[in-house]
Amino acid sequence: MTAAIEIAGLSKIYTKRNGPAVVAVDNLSLSIPAGQIFGFLGSNGAGKTTTIKMACGLVLPTSGSVQLNGHDVQRQRGQAMRQIGAVLEGTRNVYWRMTAWQNLLYFGRIKGVTGKPLKERAERLLTELDLWERRNDPVRDFSRGMQQKVAIACALVADPPIVLLDEPTLGLDVQAGRTVKRWVEQLARQEGKTVVLTTHQMDLAESLCDRVAIMSQGTLVTNRPTGELLGLFRQEGYELRFRGYVDEAVVARFDGFAAREENGHTILSGTISEHDKLYRLIELAEMQGLELLGVAQAEPNLEEIFVELLDRAGQGKHKPDQRSNGRVPHNALREVI
């Protein structure tokens, strides 16, 4: 599959005259396939926004390169910028004193689109986003959700094949968040655009993204198709259900397992990387006189995986393998599980 965004050996080190150098992004290599929704996740300060801004040409990398549909952001800036539209987090992105229509025409022109094609595109975008009726109202009079929709429309006014959305649903109410989500899906599924999404909302990433990458301290912790990542943890997460209350001292014998009570039963959940271990645990349960009601594979969600992976990365147990395109090698992951 063709890569829409190709990041190679990208690093950003901020140096201060009287302070230590800060490594915001550390030798990041990443390939984002075209036509997919790509979730870029990580805690605050993980390096996501710096990476996005380097892809937008707003921050110069210390080393490495970013290519957008084959155009180098530094060397072929003009062509590279024609490939992207971006909504950056934490700012308005548009002129609030101007109307939605005026904003779209202004940003369209500075992105090199003029005349009839620009007006037709602007009309289509505003109609699709249910803003057409209010196109002549100043953006400052809009709700937060509507303002965000105008910002997204401005990012898309030149019809770029790649869209970078930094926290697009931040601060939106449920309804506005759903509209943005539906629209992001439409961009990728119907219009074939590549959408890169940074978000702290794991449920959003899980439901929308074809692929997720998780960053921690400037490095890539994982980069996998969402289903594969969830499946990996599903394979190794187990729940053992026992009748009645299980004493804490007994629970302690199930190394690495956590206990919770549910409908008078005790559920021990944890990860099992080898089948032998499962059998050993069943034997252990019998020896302790516990009545085993069932064994089930746990259904993980992206939030749990995110926390788990970041914990490991933060504790230094796990070193991401940049050589394998930033992906966590399967065996390495099994080892830490």
Binding site: L60, R77, A80, M81, T91, N93, M98
Partner: protein
């Protein structure tokens, strides 16, 4: 050329919309231009200004007001756009950023011409000032503005990197008012101060504008006496230095990741 035209028109349109959005501020500024000029003129003439002196003062004062607007647009204006994120959006344009920045400057100048022009006409009519309109003043005015915007680019670049440059911008606005000959011809300043004043942007422009508008001197005469040559050299240096300094600051801001910081 068509691209540059589109960019300039786009910026002018945006500025008109934004200025009109702050109508009250716009009209207050116009009133202020007139009010301050009248106040200063009466004060300096001991309450009895003569029209000839007012004409000379008005030329210098209006040029100073252009300087105020240029400095304001390139320092506060850039800072505000950094805060709203629209500056970053501009830098994501596939068009050359140099063309976009020049487009913004031309748009800023056009709006200032309207603002200052209306105020000037009102002052001329109310105070009975005689200010002959001469075509020869146009290239001199444009040369003066080129140097002025070069200077404004220096402050704009500093804004991108250092963010808080309001104090410097204020200092420069006031220094220009007192030292560029707007209120008092620079040849009446002490020698060292005169020499310094002549290195500032707009000083030489005001001298040549007065020669051309008030003394009826031709451009050839101004060239021969060296004043127009001085303006060309001064404006070229300011524009070239300002431009390259601004581009250097852009690069620095990108390296520091400061384009969107405020």
């Amino acid at each position: 050329m068509a691209l540059a035209g589109t960019v300039v028109l786009n910026e002018i349109q945006k500025r008109i919309i934004l200025v009109w959005g702050y109508k009250f501020n716009f009209f207050t500024q116009m009133f202020m231009i007139g009010f301050i000029f009248v106040g200063i003129s009466f004060f300096m003439a001991g309450g009895q200004p003569d029209p000839q002196m007012l004409a000379s003062g008005l030329v210098g004062y209006l040029v100073w007001f252009f300087a105020m607007a240029a400095i304001s647009d390139m320092s506060w204006g850039i800072r505000e756009e950094t805060q709203t994120g629209t500056l970053e959006q501009m830098y994501m344009s596939p068009l050359p950023t140099g063309v976009l920045m020049l487009g913004r400057s031309v748009a800023s100048l056009c709006i200032s011409i309207v603002l200052v022009g209306i105020s000037a006409v009102v002052l001329i009519l109310v105070l009975g000032i005689s200010l002959p309109v001469t075509l020869a003043a146009l290239p001199v005015f444009l040369l003066t503005m080129a140097g002025l915007y070069g200077f404004a680019f220096i402050l704009g670049g500093a804004t991108l990197v250092f963010k808080q440059v309001e104090a410097l911008a204020n200092l420069m606005q006031n220094a220009l008012l007192f030292l560029n000959g707007a209120l008092l011809p620079v040849d009446r300043l002490p020698g060292w101060m005169e020499a310094f004043a002549k290195t500032l942007p707009t000083t030489q422009g005001i001298i040549v504008l007065r020669q051309v508008i008030l003394d009826g001197q031709s451009l050839a005469q101004s060239w021969q006496d060296g004043s127009l040559v001085g303006l060309v050299v001064n404006s070229t240096i300011y524009f070239v230095v300002g431009w390259f300094f601004f581009r250097w600051c852009e690069n620095r801001a990108r390296t520091m990741g400061a384009l969107g910081q405020y």
